[in-house]
Amino acid sequence: MQFLKISLFLFLFSSCSLKTTEGLRTTLVSKTQVENLYFSDHAQDYIYKAKIDIYGRYFGGILIIKKLKKNTHRVVFTTEFGSKVFDFLYEGDTFTKNFIVPDIDKKFIVNTLQKDFKILISETAQVKEQFELEEIDVYKSEADKRFNFYFFNKENQRLEKIVNTSKSKEKVTILFTSKTENIAEKIAINHNNIKLSIDLDYFKKE
């Protein structure tokens, strides 16, 4: 009986613990909100070469992100030849599907893409909890019944990672590599529960 109790406790405990905060120290919340400035300049056209791998099927294309005004972003994906694959508009919490190629216009696909890019472009997040390690500050925020953990490099204050989680599981991880201020030269979006990865490379200026 005792063994059963311990097992049950262990099971409950392990299923509830989130990998994301393992090994991190909880600290006092030092700021009310964090910012993701990688898509925050409305004078900038954010153009990326994209590689998408979904269940071993591979697609290439060009991802275009533009901040139109405060809290408003256009996210467009085209083939290398320039024809549109999808065209999304985010206005605050309102999402509009301007266009999507009929072949991939499935609820599951649209929802997944919509959520991924929402995490990617969201500029501010309210901080609920805060953690740290030697080199990183981690801020936890709540969004759409899930949580986003923002990982910042302590030294240069650049955003290096966003982990989107449920209460117990990591769902989506976005990694940023940034050498230039407020520009992410490389972005990797990886899903944990579906085999989907999106790799983005910033267009070099000629």
């Binding site: 004078a43 056209d45 275009i64 030849f81 024809s83 549109k84 065209d87 266009f99 267009f203 070099k204």
Partner: protein, 209 residues
């Protein structure tokens, strides 16, 4: 046939044309088609540079990419982007051979009528020989230096992707100077060709992935 084109022209007369452009008359259209057809028949290989401009109404600048195009009869086409990234597509029979910066993949287009049409379209537009009245409503225009054909697809599936596309031809040798694809949203892709070499040596190895 010409009667049909004439009726088409009448239909399109109401469409706005920019100041420099005028609509061809029936005999001009006939002469133009003959010129393009003759140029197409005598073309066995094409090697050309290209610059692609993607226009999206909400962007500050057009997205510029560039590369090389290879064509070899009967229907081998390779589009190779070299700037700002490496990406190539080879159209070979029922296959698309893609090399995306080292990641290689094949797409079988054998079962897709849509892709086959698109492939045919690309091959034909490279050669300039695509005046297919069954597939398109075609408008013929001329400017002092170039001839222009505007194609509006009749197939609704294609029309969902491409509202129309325009080919600009050199008046002297009927070479395709520019291709412009206009989407239903009015955003467009413009491809400008330069340094064209006709009937030079193009090895089959070019079309291997």
């Amino acid at each position: 046939m010409y009667k049909y084109i004439f009726i088409l022209l009448i239909t399109f007369l109401s469409v706005n044309v920019t100041a420099q452009e005028t609509i061809m008359n029936a005999s001009e259209i006939a002469a133009f088609k003959k010129q393009v057809s003759a140029a197409s028949i005598s073309t066995n290989t094409i090697k050309s540079d290209f610059v692609q401009f993607k226009h999206l109404d909400f962007l500050s600048d057009e997205i510029k990419t560039s590369g090389k195009l290879f064509f070899k009869t009967p229907g081998l086409v390779k589009w190779e982007y070299t700037n700002p990234y490496q990406y190539s597509v080879i159209f070979k029979g029922d296959q698309l051979l893609i090399n995306d910066g080292g990641t290689k993949s094949n797409v079988d287009i054998g079962n897709s009528k849509m892709f086959k049409n698109l492939n045919q379209l690309i091959v034909n537009s490279v050669k300039g020989n695509m005046f297919d009245d069954a597939e398109f409503n075609i408008k013929y225009l001329k400017t002092p230096k170039a001839n222009k054909a505007i194609f509006v697809p009749k197939d609704k599936k294609i029309a969902a992707y491409i509202a129309s596309f325009e080919l600009l031809f050199d008046k002297k040798d009927a070479a395709v100077l520019e291709v412009k694809m206009i989407e239903p949203s009015a955003d467009y892709t413009r491809i400008v060709f330069s340094n064209r070499i006709l009937n030079g040596t193009v090895n089959d190895a070019v079309f291997k992935n």
